[in-house]
């Protein structure tokens, strides 16, 4: 029995800005189902009174001083990675009417 529907998969794809075909949606549904089934194993463990784990590195307070860094990259170099540009700005599909 599937715990995840085709609609759920399509919604996730939309939230992730991915275009997927119906065949892909079906395949993803099965894969997501397996992943959820695997992860649901964790629910069997009693975690009452245990602090949630936010990090597994054991690190804390990794910070830098407030000093300007020269990354050696100018605007042109950075803009070269964008599909479209104009007047030193990134050109995108219009987002308001």
């Amino acid at each position: 029995m599937s715990s995840i529907s085709i609609e759920d998969v399509k919604k996730l794809a939309k939230l992730s800005a991915l275009t997927i075909s119906d065949t892909e949606a079906d395949a993803l549904r099965n894969q997501l189902d397996e992943i959820l089934g695997f992860v649901s194993k964790l629910s069997e463990v009693n975690t009452l009174g245990i602090e949630p784990t936010y990090q597994v590195t054991g690190l804390s307070n990794v910070m830098r001083e407030d000093e300007v860094v020269d990354y050696g990259l100018d605007r042109d170099a950075l803009l070269r990675n964008t599909p479209n540009q104009q007047d030193g700005q990134i050109k995108v599909k219009r987002v308001i009417e």
């Binding site: 830098r64 407030d66 300007v68 030193g88 599909k93 219009r94």
Partner: protein, 478 residues
């Protein structure tokens, strides 16, 4: 007027840009005020693969200071999370922010209403997050342009409880947040350039009923806009409810030209941000001792100045005008310490009435306390009339000269030379046209003396010391 009585409920979210040299997670320059688009950026701001954001220590320090100003608990443990959405101003596809464990916990702000009363507004929490880039939409074309200079600028978002119930309370809250954040110096506080931005959540409901459906009007950048947007939403929602229509929960914008809110069609599923802890940013642990160290060097808050100025006997409107510019409040408080109440009070009135009204503040820190004290002293010794002193004050804004030098140059010094004034008194009293006035005074109508002083002032071109002139008239006719 509506049949039913409604009560509005307002909560405000306020974004404050922190005045760090660099961005929240990258060493790119954060001062993009006069910079060309996309010149204050780094691979991290562009969200390029393989880059590692690292937290700016100064941003955390400023957040602690802001938190203390909000009378809030600073969390010992806080975390950063990713908030996911796709929009061209957000290159990574997620914003690094805080959700479950923000650095600044619950607090409170005392706001000051126009009728002179105070009210406490509770703060739910405030979280640290990065700003997004700036989009522009040139007219008549099918594209938008993205400038990432602002992407990654450190912000704190201050979230109030829904404790406000009128447009004027919302405005007073916005003003107090502005004062607090500028007084503790965590932001440049330039409202025009969006350093502080307000989102207002407004709902209305019949008195006694559960809260109504709310709308959120975003990105207001003046106190007036906050007040008017809230007012507009209250009226709009009351009209809908009176017609038995329903308020749609939505995001709205504010049209400054039309002075009206408008619906911004929000994207479907827009609220499914799929937050999760950001694995790139290890947890933040803040020791109690660190908070105490910041608390020790906290500058005076607006309320402390308010109390001092009230104790000096200043009016509410004068106090409000003074507090509007931090350096002016500092100057008056300093003069109070070094020169006493009379001088401080005179300077306070100059600052609030001569140099700026509540709307147009003037920063007079360039004049300096020493020259203000000297100028006030010249009024005390009657070397300058109070009208002439205001004239000198305005000149001092653009001149580094001493008030005495300016007064001499402008020929404003009062004549206190007894012989010089006596000569003018003699001339005025000898004028046959004034014989009746003299007779009236002798007959006991003392008010007429003011008329004669007026003539003497006119004769001396305003420079005679009026007190001395009066004394000489009395001496002459008694």
């Amino acid at each position: 007027m509506s049949q039913t009585q409604y009560i509005p409920t307002i909560g405000i979210e306020c974004h404050v840009q922190l005045k760090t040299r660099t961005k929240l997670f990258s060493g790119a320059n954060n001062d993009a005020r006069d910079a060309k688009p996309n010149t204050m950026v780094s691979p991290i701001c562009f969200g390029l693969p393989g880059t590692l954001p690292v937290l700016n220590r100064e941003a955390v320090q400023l957040a602690i200071r802001a938190g203390l100003a909000l009378n809030a608990e600073i969390a010992e443990n806080s975390y950063f999370e990713r908030k996911h959405y796709f929009y061209p101003d957000l290159p990574k596809g997620y914003q690094i922010t805080q959700l479950a464990h923000p650095t600044i916990g619950a607090g409170s702000v005392t706001i000051h209403l126009e009728d002179g009363s105070d009210k406490v507004v509770r703060i739910h929490h405030a979280h640290i997050e990065e700003d997004a880039g700036k989009l522009t939409h040139p007219n008549g074309v099918d594209y938008s342009l993205v400038d990432l200079n602002r992407a990654g600028t450190p912000l704190i978002e201050i979230v109030s409880e829904p404790d406000m119930h009128s447009a004027s309370e919302a405005k007073a809250y916005a003003q107090e947040i502005y004062l607090l954040m500028t007084y503790v110096d965590v932001t440049y506080g330039d409202l025009y350039h969006g350093n502080i931005r307000f989102d207002v959540n407004v709902s209305v409901a019949p008195i006694g009923a559960p809260l109504g459906t709310r709308t959120e009007t975003k990105n207001l950048n003046s106190f007036k806009a906050v007040e008017r947007a809230v007012d507009f939403e209250i009226n709009r929602q009351v009209k809908l409810l009176d017609k038995n229509e329903r308020v749609v929960q939505e995001t709205r914008g504010w049209n400054e030209d039309r002075q009206a809110t408008f619906s911004q069609r929000s994207k479907e599923d827009a609220h499914d941000y799929r937050y999760f802890p950001d694995a790139d940013i290890p947890p933040l642990k803040i020791e109690r001792s660190e908070v105490e160290a910041v608390a020790k060097v906290m500058p005076k808050l607006p309320n402390q100045y308010r109390q001092e100025f009230t104790a000096m006997g200043l009016d509410g409107s004068v106090i409000t005008a003074l507090l509007g510019v931090k350096s002016n409040a500092e100057i008056v408080a300093e003069i109070y310490t070094i020169a006493g109440k009379e001088t401080a009070s005179r300077v306070a009135h100059w600052l609030s009435s001569v140099l700026g009204s509540a709307e147009g503040h003037t920063d007079i820190s360039s004049i300096g306390t020493a020259r203000l004290v000297e100028l006030s002293g010249m009024v005390d010794t009657a070397e300058l009339s109070s009208t002439a002193a205001k004239d000198v004050l305005i000149s001092m804004l653009s001149s580094p000269e001493s008030p005495r030098h300016i007064a001499e140059q402008k020929n404003l010094l009062q004549v206190s030379d007894e012989n010089a004034i006596a000569a003018i008194v003699e001339k005025v009293l000898a004028d046959p046209a004034n014989a009746k006035a003299i007779a009236d005074i002798k007959a006991g109508n003392d008010k007429v003396i003011g008329y004669l002083i007026g003539l003497i002032m006119k004769e001396s071109k305003g420079k005679a010391n009026p007190g001395l002139a009066q004394k000489l008239i009395r001496k002459r006719i008694s």
